[in-house]
Symmetry: C2
Subunit: 426 residues, 2 copies
């Protein structure tokens, strides 16, 4: 940065002046090299164009938000808490919300007292805290392949070395996990066992029991990220791994899918010594989650609104999931396979690769698809190392943010782009 | 952590069983050693007891919060933005808030377009981001002595080596800053130039000009933390250092003191390449600040409510500041000195030290004061190395959260505790 006059314009371009010094490069922290702008962010920017049908993002449908309830919730908050709803509060979270979350968690099999529940700034806030207190540079973190991109973004600045465990239609392979833990001392294992992002896959009941046993045998922590389990459209709920190995799991949840993501209210239940450090870390990061957001969330839960409204949200999303499945069946050419998840927000498509022919390149397909007016996320972004043919031939589709007819139309456009790409490859 | 059965209680105490394995220590990130629970947190817990008058915290008066406006602000937000106020949003901040902040900033001399304004989760969120993108382990960060505790908490996990610059009644000494920068390559300088926390001191106009010149000459970044400049009770506003060296300052502000801290809305203006990395860091930390908080803040600013209500807040705090100054004058014994700031939330008291007699130990004084029903923060917590006699004899007092008569009563109790402590020393 050249020395500038006190009143120089911040946007002046010093190099356009004949005798300007070349700007000296600002030195940033070494960890910023692991923090480059996510490609998904650029993809979502393109996808936000009004000319494009975006199946790329992970947005809940705005029609699912309880706009009509908000004035009443605010009135209840102001009446009950007054100025406390606008004041600084404890890093652990707003007490009435922690109390309302305890039975909400118990209903899904996570037994915890209010004192054991931490409120976080979305699940993302918990992921950042976990990275901060558990990862020393070079420590091994075990991830599913593919895995949630936001977890990679949270952990990367803390310098982990990732080791991937294999997955199939029933989620991560216990034998693969066991092999890794036998070989390496790890900081923790990260997984989304239910309706995973990006694949939609769910870890089977048998495997949950096996994973809990492996965690205990190797005295290893699992970070169980569970944002989607409330969004089940068919089938029966499975116990969280936390219920099977409570001392070996940091359990994360969120109200982003069942109340509103813009409030940034997530929650976390962790073994006591991990919780203690997560609270200390919070003090340096943002002090606490918005008190007003937390107080509104407490009213929403206590007033029974989440339970009352969830069926309507499921009724909204269930036909969208079916519409996307039907559209894949109807329009995608031979050689494509996709997941059929019982819940969540995403389907995962595996394009042709192997068998002697060149793998589909979904980055190139993305460019063609956007020109035709449809966007998705190329699958390689969900891998620690996305260069395998299978990774390069995969892609993620969201179904919660679009109506059924739109989904069908979008897949028809996608199929045209696929034809074009396969013809160009041949 | 011992291996436990799948269904064991999370709170069971395995060591009480005769043959339990000794728990294996969980391994935490090395950086957690620099993140121990702040003593101030324990102090604030004691101070929160209903039997104690707390001058320890840094809370705005709850009577300053616009509770009456909240329903109208929410209605305006829902009418104007609908579901967008509850949806995920950009990491940079909610566009209408960034647009409303640009003129708010310009009024204090910070020229920035809406695109140059980042919204953060309080100023704390900006401090964490700055630590993350600017501090590699071992990098030098320059701090005032004493300095803001929350900045130390934000930076510590990133492993800086602190170098302190000397300060006097007019803030940091430019010659001391210049000497440090001549000697060391530094990541950045951190300062609160206006109504500093903890001292209440303000960097004089002449020194601001000198500091701006020094930053430019050494091509060094200043993190200018400015949470209090709106809270000026007497005298005239000074230009922020940002106005004098725009390319060398990351400027931080907050609505915590002029709207409500519980919304967690801060803001930041940084040189372009720093801003870019701060945005990327945000994606991993919490995605973005509560959209609803931001939308309410935008309405508050656009509707002219901040400007309309600020005079009443100043009228509330001005007599409190005067009451605390008067009480010190009336009750504190000889040998005590204190700051007389023109604004902000804190006064700083320097107890006797040096001149051959043992320095006052404000940690011990704190214990005596709490027993009598009054709390403050011992000054050593605001120093990187708080073991000097001057640091140990200093203490911080907040005046915004207590009424004038309470302040007088509290200082009377404090003076009794001081008499007792000095007698015990003699």
């Amino acid at each position: 940065m050249p020395n500038s006059e006190p009143n120089s314009e911040p946007n002046s371009e010093p190099n356009s002046e004949p005798h300007a010094q070349p700007p000296r490069a600002r030195r940033f922290a070494r960890r910023t090299r692991a923090m480059e702008a996510s490609a998904i962010r650029e993809i979502l920017k393109v996808a936000a164009s009004p000319d494009v049908i975006s199946l790329a993002g992970g947005l809940p449908a705005p029609e699912s938000f309880p706009l009509d309830l908000m004035p009443g919730l605010l009135q209840a908050v102001l009446t009950r808490h007054g100025a406390a709803a606008l004041q600084y509060d404890a890093s652990e979270g707003f007490r009435p919300l922690r109390e309302a979350l305890a039975p909400h968690l118990a209903a899904r099999g996570v037994e915890a007292t209010a004192e054991q529940v931490l409120v976080t700034s979305g699940s993302q806030g918990a992921l950042d805290g976990i990275g901060k207190v558990l990862i020393s540079p070079g420590d091994v973190v075990v991830m599913e392949a593919p895995t949630y991109l936001g977890a990679l973004q949270a952990f990367n600045p803390y310098g982990p070395r990732y080791v991937q465990v294999e997955t199939d239609e029933e989620g991560l392979l216990p034998a693969s996990l066991e092999a890794v833990l036998a070989r390496e001392r790890v900081a923790f294992v990260y997984a989304v066992p239910t309706f995973q992002n990006p694949t939609g896959r769910t870890l089977s009941r048998e495997r949950r029991i096996q994973v809990a046993r492996i965690l205990q045998q190797h005295d290893t922590l699992l970070v169980e990220d569970d944002p989607y389990s409330d969004l089940r459209y068919v089938g029966e709920a499975l116990p969280p791994v936390r219920a099977l190995a409570p001392e070996h799991v940091v359990y994360l949840g969120t109200l982003s899918k069942t109340f509103a993501p813009g409030l940034r209210v997530g929650f976390c239940v962790a073994p006591a010594e991990v919780q203690r450090l997560l609270v200390i870390a919070r003090q340096g990061v943002d002090l606490h989650t918005s008190t007003l957001s937390q107080a509104l969330a407490a009213e929403y839960l206590e007033g029974g609104h989440l339970d009352a409204r969830l069926p309507a949200t499921l009724d909204l999303y269930r036909p969208r999931r079916q519409a996307l499945l039907d559209a894949f069946e109807r329009h995608l050419p031979e050689g494509f396979r996709w997941t059929r998840p019982d819940g969540g927000m995403f389907l995962w498509v595996q394009g042709p690769h192997g068998h002697g022919r060149p793998p589909l390149d979904t980055e190139r397909l993305y460019q063609r698809a956007v020109l035709r007016g449809v966007a998705f996320v190329p699958g390689r972004h969900f891998y620690v190392d996305g260069d395998s043919p299978a990774a390069r031939a995969s892609m993620r589709f969201n179904f919660t943010a679009s109506e059924p007819e739109i989904l069908d139309h979008a897949v028809r456009l996608l199929a045209e782009a696929i034809d074009e790409e396969l013809a160009a490859q041949a």
